[in-house]
Amino acid sequence: MDNDNATREDAELKALQQALHQLYDPVLGEPVPERVSAPARARRARWRGTAIAAGWVALGLAVGVIAGWQLHVWRAVAPPQAEVPGFVKRAAVAHAVYSPEVRHPVEVGADQEQHLVAWLSKRLGTPLRAPHLEDVGYSLVGGRLLPGDNGPVAHFMYQCKQGTRVTLYVRANAPGSQETAFRYAAEGNVKVFYWIDRRLGYALSSADIGSDDLHKVANAVYRQLNP
């Protein structure tokens, strides 16, 4: 009986955690208003150049996805969300399909990184880079070419020491060529941070790490691509 109660409590807390994340995680992807970010950016500009770069990785706990008994109740209606571009959905599906793959997660492995990047750049018709994410605990597994909405898409896979994977989906000629700040979307149990930068659409997906950790990785990707 006590055990049942504990199980129920656990499931309820998990359901609550997930509902809170569904409710408030979209804030992570909102552009930060000028009045909030301006003083910090001014200071950062002043400090840059003199400060020694030091990696900062906080520990975060991934929120497990479990079907608690209350989950279906709280999930009944999702909060209103901005329209998510088609490539983000495709990225989430690609993540769900390839990241559990044991034997063939990628077409070209990280041992042939140069070849991989040259090949994908050629097929997408634009110079690409595979960001190095060791600072945030992820190393490149490799990548593959995928069909996108209207042409080839590059798909890079990364893995941390514990074996958790994140994937970076890159498409060329992003719609409307509108640059965006980070946006957040959840497709099923796959969390995605996406943005458009210089006509390239990026979507970073994970099913296994929390949105906060994923946000950190997204920041690292962005910094690498915009040094």
Binding site: R8, V27, L28, V36, A54, W69, W74, A78
Partner: protein, 168 residues
């Protein structure tokens, strides 16, 4: 990465917590802005090598408490907020919007604990450190917050919650 970078990187996290804590967007961004200003002016008090996020959350907690104190009449109005909309309850599922409303109806001290533990994934220990309260208080506030949420979301009196059998 220097401290300014680290703080900039944490702004979205501060905004998320503030949104959940303060409710609407403008009040939340006011809170974040005040927090950052205070953090910059007090940065010499931050001990390098300790968790910067926890430190910023402590600053935010202090700013928030001060804001609540300054706006006590408004905070009292909160207590008299009407029951959650009945319309939402007519549907089979309780909507996330209800959860948002229910969280705002929690007493501020319970809401903080709930959000630090369930949204920010802090341990009881970290939450206690952030709020400057004993760990036992964290646990009792959390339990009370969950009890109230349960009651509000199910429309049932605390303690009398309907239980579904879990089939193993």
């Amino acid at each position: 990465m220097n401290d300014a970078d680290s703080i900039v990187e944490l702004i979205p996290r501060l905004r998320r917590y503030a949104r959940a804590l303060a409710g609407d967007r403008i009040a939340a961004d006011d809170l974040v802005q005040d927090t950052l200003e205070r953090a910059w002016s007090k940065f010499h008090l931050y001990r390098r090598g300790t968790d910067l996020r926890a430190w910023l959350f402590t600053v935010m907690h202090n700013v928030h408490v001060n804001q609540l104190r300054a706006a006590r009449p408004a905070a009292q109005l909160d207590e008299d907020m009407p029951e959650l909309a009945q319309a939402a309850r007519e549907t089979d599922g309780l909507v996330l919007r209800d959860l948002d409303l229910a969280i705002r109806r929690l007493p501020p001290d319970q809401r903080e604990v709930l959000l630090l533990v369930a949204l920010e994934d802090m341990s009881y220990d970290e939450a206690a450190g952030t709020l400057g309260i004993p760990i036992g208080t964290v646990m009792s506030r959390l339990a009370r917050a969950r009890e109230k949420l349960r009651a509000m979301l199910q429309g049932l009196p605390p303690g009398g919650s309907k239980q579904l059998k879990i089939v193993k």
